[in-house]
Subunit: 201 residues, 2 copies
Amino acid sequence: MPSGRSRPARTGRRPGPTDTRGEILRVARESFAETGYGASSLRGIARTAGVDPALIVHFFGSKAGLFIASIGWPFSPAEARAVVADGPQRVGENLAAMFMRHWDDERERSPILAMLHVATGEPAGARMMREFLVEYMLEPLVETIGGEDAGVRAGLIASQLIGLGLTRYVLGYEPLASAPSPLVTKILAASIQRLIDEPLP
Amino acid sequence: MPSGRSRPARTGRRPGPTDTRGEILRVARESFAETGYGASSLRGIARTAGVDPALIVHFFGSKAGLFIASIGWPFSPAEARAVVADGPQRVGENLAAMFMRHWDDERERSPILAMLHVATGEPAGARMMREFLVEYMLEPLVETIGGEDAGVRAGLIASQLIGLGLTRYVLGYEPLASAPSPLVTKILAASIQRLIDEPLP
């Protein structure tokens, strides 16, 4: 914990350096749940947690970063980078494998679902999910795909992933829901790779 | 309004035949919003609306039918039938056109979004959305596609539609969000048709 760089709290008690991060997360979770993403502010969360807003920025980068940490979003930035590390011709396989690994695990699925729930419930939640996806997944993807329609291709890939997650794991549509993971991974990988390699209609 | 077939109310006031349907919808909306889909019952809604449960079945067919009517779901069963009426080789084009027509209209989009919000929030909501999609869209689709993997193909088609709706209209990911509708319809139609015509990996 980089407590040496922490600034002193303006108001209220000041938790020890080790539990400061945990306390901020606890307050953030409460705030997002009670007042929504849009209406929650770093300043308000900092006030309730008894820390300086700059400390939250220091720990989490932004309100979006704080939200992601508070819901336990399972995709790490390093994992997202690994998806594109082998070049465009392996993105289908890498991305499908990463996606299925996370969605197949119910504990990892639940924060993704929470984010989709917030995104379908209020524009601020949708904006937050978009900003997050753009930063962590879509920008590296667009760069790796290259070409002038890379943005549309990346969007279609994101829509495949989100749609499959909802249909298989949330709606539980059969026979897709109980189809073996290796089969679904293979179908998904081929479909993503096609969106990278083939011309758009 | 088929008031001649209405049965007398068991309890409470009895609205006139014209506003009975509206009154049931009003009570249903309240009940679904307050206690969720799973915990709402036709019997409870009938009691509050002051009508016989059989009248609700008569008007709406089932609790799912009542829910759909209460949120103003824009896809009519006749439209769903029209998608498959020209045979499997036209499903891509027909389905993409129907889908885009509804999602492009913000008023029609909002009940679809409400359903997705409920589906990502509680298992009962997800079950309801699945049951609805299976009955209105997926069963006719599976029958039209034919063959032993028709169910998986239909599921992948549903996942394309849901994913594109979320990415383009809810998350608003650019450049997909402002891409012209005819272009997106063309891409979607080709993608659906491929899921019908080509072998799965």
